[in-house]
Symmetry: C2
Subunit: 208 residues, 2 copies
DNA sequence: TTTCATAAAAAGCGATCACTCGCTATCTTG
DNA sequence: CAAGATAGCGAGTGATCGCTTTTTATGAAA
């Protein structure tokens, strides 16, 4: 009869299905959005039954919270390299902005945004996501401080980071086409150039 | 018997219920979000039956498209006064940014954002909202050009407007508490001050 | 092997969704 | 007034939602 192809421990089986569920949840949130990411859709994508889902996660919200934490981790990893560029001239700042844009518009960051938007109209979800949110903010700030701390005045780094990230988030939310990550578009590109020039003007040719 | 309190023409009755439905839709979208704005919820709020709703709007999406057009009109009206301030010094720019922030975070603008987000995962809705979207963008740009055109270089106005509006939109989308329109919060305030200083530095003390 | 606990599957439940349909109420027209 | 058209109501429909329950497979312990 159908011989079991592999032999796995219970812990391995458990971790495999949990991992598949988290991955399917993150991918579906980014691709299809919060509303279309039903438990049935997640299970179909993960190749798992609904019974299996609710064995490991008490509610749909529990699964989303776990997926949010995982997505935030992935986002921090992605962002680590984006801050690397030099920020002393226009070319360097422009390049750094471009990489930051790519990170903010990436699929896992889209997952994160999708959950934040859903949390806006769901007090429970909002409360449940709060720790992951604080942690994520701190990690991003730490990354920015590590890379920019010796060029920019430290007390202005949070404000500058908030400014830059929120511009990209705004574009991502209001993207006129389904996949926002492609080309910047003329107005968007002009805005990025303008921002780069203003940043360089403030932090290099002025006295410090 | 319950005497009819008033005598209205059919057109008046029709316009009254359509108006009530649009207003209820806009308010519910801003307050409770897209998912919670069911046809039943809209009708309850408007004091009208579901049968009445589907007499005037073929689908829920049709109603949303009509509500989007109305919300965009209201947004343009609100924005008209926000661009009025002087933009020649830091105080003027800061004030203008503050007013723009209030407009972007207002309830009807929240309605608009809610529909844009829903459109991200709904190709049909996205296509249906496209004309209203183009129109809205053009109107905002016209407002900004009218008010800033003689102080700022015209070719940079679209970029600057996109930059400013999208920062506020980003904050609105990711607001950590339900009503985003209240106080700016320290980091957000610092970012606004920073932006105001950078704008003034670029457009006043440089050569032009 | 036998016994037990855990993992996964499958069917089903009540609630809610957008939407329809048959009917009544109100206004218009001749 | 009578006849027809439009507006509004509310019960009903099938589909889908998150979730539960029952049943079956599978690995661990004896």
């Amino acid at each position: 009869m159908p011989a079991p192809a592999t032999r796995r421990t219970q812990a391995e089986r458990r971790d495999a299905t949990i991992g598949a569920l988290l991955e399917a949840t993150i991918a579906s949130l980014a691709e299809r959005g919060y509303a279309a990411t039903s438990t049935a859709a997640i299970c179909a994508r993960a190749g798992v039954s609904q019974g299996a889902l609710f064995r490991h996660f008490k509610t749909r919200q529990d699964l989303f919270v776990a997926a949010a934490a995982r997505a935030a981790e992935l986002n921090v990893e992605q962002a680590r390299s984006a801050f690397a560029g030099d920020v002393r001239d226009v070319a360097g700042v422009t390049a750094t902005l471009g990489e930051l844009r790519a990170v903010v518009l990436s699929p896992t960051n889209q997952t994160w945004r999708e959950l934040l938007v859903a949390a806006r109209s769901d007090a429970e979800l909002r409360a449940a996501l709060r720790p992951a949110r604080l942690e994520f903010g701190l990690q991003m700030l730490a990354l920015a401080t590590d890379q920019w701390g010796d060029v920019l005045p430290p007390e202005e780094i949070p404000a500058l980071l908030s400014l830059v990230v929120n511009v990209f988030d705004g574009w991502a939310f209001a993207a006129p086409d389904a996949d926002a990550a492609s080309a910047p578009g003329p107005t968007q590109q002009a805005a990025m150039d303008l921002l780069a020039q203003m940043i360089v003007a403030r932090y290099t040719q002025e006295s410090r």
